[in-house]
Symmetry: C2
Subunit: 288 residues, 2 copies
C-alpha cells in the first residue's frame, strides 16, 4: 500500500502512518510539501495520505484544512502522536562541541527555551524537516552539527542523543488524519465527523446552526473559520462534532443543508485517542 506523507522515513508522519497500519506493508511516498501529499492522492501515485491537522501547542494547521477541502479528499481516520523533541549529533560529541543546530522552524520554535540556554555563538538554522536534517548530518558526516527531531530519527540514522525532551511544553501532541480519494461507508463504530459549511451574513446564523447540533446531542469539539477565497472577509466554518447515533447525525446534516449556503462532510470516522489501527483495509475488502 502506498501512503504519501510530508517528510522522510522515521519522521513524525511516518510514525503516525505506522500507528494506523501496524501490520501492513507500506511504501512511503515522501513529499516535500503538504500540497504534494494531496496531489499524489489525486493523481493516484499514492493510495492514501497521512496529514498533520492540529497540534496542542500551535493549534490547527489551517492550510491543511483547505488542502483537504479543495482537493475533495475524504478523512477516514485520525491518530494522535506525542511529540517529544531530542537533540542529536554524530557519536563521540557533547553539546559543547556543537556549533550549529538544524531543524524544521516549528521544531526550533517548540524548543526555544532550551536553545536560549545554549552559547550565543551557536547558529540556529531552519531546515526542511526534522528527519531530513538528521539524515544530512549522518550522510555528510558533519561534525559540530546537531539536529532536533524525534527519538526514532536518532535510531534510524545512528545518531547520538545529546539531550532529551527539550521542547518547552512537555505535553505536545499532534493529531493526524488519514485521507484518500474515495468516499466509503463509515466504520460501524464511527462517532466523529468533520464538516464544512458556509453561512449568509445574517445575524445569528452561526449560533442557530450550532444550536441545531446541541438540540440533537451532537457535541461540537472544535471550530475554525477560514476565509472563502474570492469572497473577501467571508468565512467558511470547519467543525469537528461527536455523536452517539450515526443515523440521527445523517438526518440532522440533511436538514442542515437547507439552512446553510454549503454543507460538506469531509469525513465520518471513529474518535481515536486510543490510537487503534485503521480498519480501512478491512472496510475496503468487505466492500468488494
Amino acid at each position: 500500500m502506498k501512503i504519501a506523507i510530508q517528510g522522510i522515513e522515521s519522521s513524525f508522519h511516518d510514525m503516525a502512518t505506522r500507528l494506523l497500519f501496524p501490520d501492513t506493508e507500506i511504501e512511503l511516498i515522501m513529499c516535500d510539501t503538504f500540497e504534494k501529499v494531496t496531489e499524489c492522492i489525486e493523481n493516484m501515485s499514492a493510495d492514501f495520505g497521512v496529514l498533520a491537522i492540529e497540534n496542542t501547542i500551535a493549534g490547527s494547521i489551517l492550510p491543511n484544512y483547505n488542502l483537504i477541502d479543495a482537493s475533495g479528499l475524504v478523512i477516514y481516520d485520525e491518530v494522535f502522536l506525542n511529540i517529544q523533541m531530542f537533540i542529536m549529533a554524530l557519536g563521540g560529541q557533547t553539546i559543547y562541541d556543537i556549533d550549529e543546530v538544524h531543524s524544521h522552524p516549528v521544531a526550533l520554535l517548540q524548543c526555544k527555551d532550551y536553545l536560549r540556554k545554549l552559547p550565543p555563538q551557536l547558529k540556529i538554522i531552519e531546515g526542511k524537516d526534522t528527519a531530513s536534517e538528521a539524515k544530512k548530518i549522518k550522510e555528510g558526516n558533519l561534525k559540530g552539527v546537531a539536529a532536533i527531531a524525534g527519538k526514532q530519527v536518532a535510531e534510524r540514522f545512528g545518531l547520538e542523543i545529546l539531550d532529551s525532551n527539550i521542547q518547552n511544553e512537555k505535553d505536545n501532541q499532534t493529531r493526524f488524519v488519514l485521507i484518500g480519494k474515495e468516499a466509503i461507508a463509515p466504520a460501524e463504530n464511527a462517532n466523529k465527523a468533520t464538516l464544512k459549511f458556509e453561512l449568509s451574513h445574517s445575524l445569528g446564523s452561526l449560533s442557530n446552526t450550532l444550536q441545531m447540533f446541541t438540540t440533537f446531542n451532537i457535541n461540537l469539539t472544535k471550530i475554525q473559520s477560514l476565509p472563502i477565497v474570492g469572497k473577501p472577509w467571508q468565512y467558511a466554518f470547519f467543525v469537528d462534532v461527536m455523536f452517539d447515533d450515526y443515523q440521527l447525525f445523517t438526518e440532522v446534516t440533511k436538514v442542515l443543508k437547507k439552512a446553510v449556503s454549503e454543507l460538506k462532510i469531509l469525513g465520518v470516522y471513529k474518535h481515536n485517542v486510543e490510537n487503534t489501527p485503521s480498519q480501512l483495509i478491512q472496510v475496503l475488502e468487505n466492500g468488494k
Copy 2:
C-alpha cells in the same frame, strides 16, 4: 513615536503603519519575528506595534492571536491592506535574465502559478521577508537575482519591476492590528471587539454563548478555536464581534463572564475597512 513591526522599511507592515499614522513621525523598530514585536512593546523599547492578524487567502495568523493574548497586549485599531505582488530586479534585465527568485515563503506560495510558468532551471529560494530580499539584491548588486515583494519595495530600493500583480488570487487583503501595552477607553465610534473565552466541556456551551450575542444584536464576524496550552484538546475561542451599542456590549460581556471559564477583552475598536487614520494619539492626549 516608536512602532515595532516585523520586517524592514517599505514592507507591508511599514505600509500598514503609515496608513494608521499618516501625519506622525514614526521611528520603526524593525524586528525579525512577530514575537520580537510583542517583546519590544512589553519591554517598552517600542510604544506600539503593528501586527498582521489575518489574510483573505491564508486565513488567521493563529500564532499572533496567542502572542497578543499571552503578552497581555491590547488591540487599539485595525487597518486593511491590499497585497499585490511584484517581481523586481536590478535595472536593465528582463525576466529571461533571472536565475534565482527570492522571497518570503508565503509570498512565494501566493505566486505559485506565476512561478510555475518560469523555466524549470530557475531557483526559488525562501528568504526572511519580502523587502529584505530586495534590499540584499540592491546592496549586493546581484545580477540574475529577482525578489518578489510589494511595489513600494521596488521604489524604495530602486529596483525595476519585471512583472506586476503576479499572485494567484488577485484579491489578497491582509488585516493588521495596532497593539500596545496599556488599556485605554475605546474611541467614541468603536463598534467592534476581539474577545477570548474558554468553555467547559458541556454539550452546547459554545452555541449557548453565541446565542447570548445574537439575543443582544451583537454580530459575530469571526471565530477561531485555539488550543489551551497545558490542557490537551481543550480550546479557547477567539471571536470578533460587531455591535451598535457599546453600553449594551459591556453589559453583555459582564454577564457572559459568569457563564464562561475565562473572558478577556483583547480590544474594542472601530471597524475600519475605510482605513481611516488611528485616533490613538488624540485619545492619549485627551486622557492626559
